[in-house]
Symmetry: none
Subunit: 237 residues, 2 copies
Amino acid sequence: MSDIRVLVVEDEPIASAAHAAYVQRLDGFSLAGTAPDGQSALRLLAEFSAAGNPVELVLLDMNLPDLHGLDIARRMRSSGLFADIIAITAVRELNIVRSAVAIGVVQYLIKPFTYATFAEKLTNYRLFREQLASSDDGKNKTGASQSDVDQAFASLRTPSELQLPKGLSVSTLDAVKDFLRKEDAAVSASEVMDELGMSRVTARRYLEYLADAGSVSRAPRYGAPGRPENEYRWTRA
Amino acid sequence: MSDIRVLVVEDEPIASAAHAAYVQRLDGFSLAGTAPDGQSALRLLAEFSAAGNPVELVLLDMNLPDLHGLDIARRMRSSGLFADIIAITAVRELNIVRSAVAIGVVQYLIKPFTYATFAEKLTNYRLFREQLASSDDGKNKTGASQSDVDQAFASLRTPSELQLPKGLSVSTLDAVKDFLRKEDAAVSASEVMDELGMSRVTARRYLEYLADAGSVSRAPRYGAPGRPENEYRWTRA
DNA sequence: ACCGTTGCGTTCATATTGGTCATGAAAGGT
DNA sequence: ACCTTTCATGACCAATATGAACGCAACGGT
């Protein structure tokens, strides 16, 4: 799959350069350009679109000298530019989140943010696109089902793998992830317990977390007597 | 908090009435009206908006006689109508999901769906609104943080578990439902057993549940020796 | 018409696992 | 050194698919 073309819209030069660098540093994305204000952003978007090389994602700062981010989004939609938008905003103006969602903002970044947070949001977006593409173009001629769409939307949601929930540790999580990646087939909690020497409760907790985060898929294993055993399979590239 | 005003846009009278009934049955929502095509939908939205009583959520069918759902959404945005949209579509046109997201579709429902699915999506939307309102208006003068926004987005996009009778599991039910939707012809319990690898008893239990819930029809299949076999067919619109 | 045959519907006990709680050990801060 | 916080564990109860056993309804040959 080719890279997702990104336009960075940000008036402050230092922040703009930082965002641009972030994009180039991230796999699966390529920088289409940068714009310091709303007018030039709209012009650039229109030019790329006319050249048959449209921008697919806009990192849009809400505070710009000439236009507010919401206005830019509105004008984009009015003129038939349907690039997805990740909004970047300062802490105070949270009351515009709802309007932003209605215009098609897919993610929301609050300044100041770290590279890790940035990478998480963009990666979620990429996973969303990939899941949609695979359930659509794939061999599944019968069409995708509600659960497929739900799962795609779920990967757009943040699996805060940066900030682990209480009770989980990084090293244990890495061990479980490594084991899952190594195994091609689906594994059960008991198998993880045996292989890694941890308790079943612990193994299950980490597997469950990974399932919620979207990194692994979870399905019951039928055929044997007893309560069905969940089996987990690594899905994330 | 007052109810969320909903407009139902759907050309088929039976489906329209069903969706309207669903809305009225659901806590926290009230029906603002119904529209059978795109033109009247846009007119109604404009009228409500002018009367200072705007619609906040639109249940928008994608297949309408005059305009495609995406066009309606686009015109809404162009004319300054920023109601949120839950898209309703048939299985085939999944390729428009991405465009839909860009115009601000917050949820996606695939026909045919059950009331439970419908209620889940709308409830998620309501939770999203409430979380946003509480973290904004609340005492938290320092403003909301990234995690607040993340949490709100999460409740919009996380499939919430709906209540099932004891003895049934969500994933198994999903598997059976997906299989039934994929098969156009009526299927027997034995066929479900073979295809999904579960036992005959289990398959039958889930099929019976779906039949009781009204999602599938049940009829005996004659012609072969032995006790007649029930066959199940997906019917829910 | 009758009756054996056939295969599914139905019920129940059983086998395992999922989930939760409180406990214990280790790590980190004061 | 003491207290607080964090994470893994063991033991418990609840949940859920399975298999076997029995009953039932239509078919088909006599």
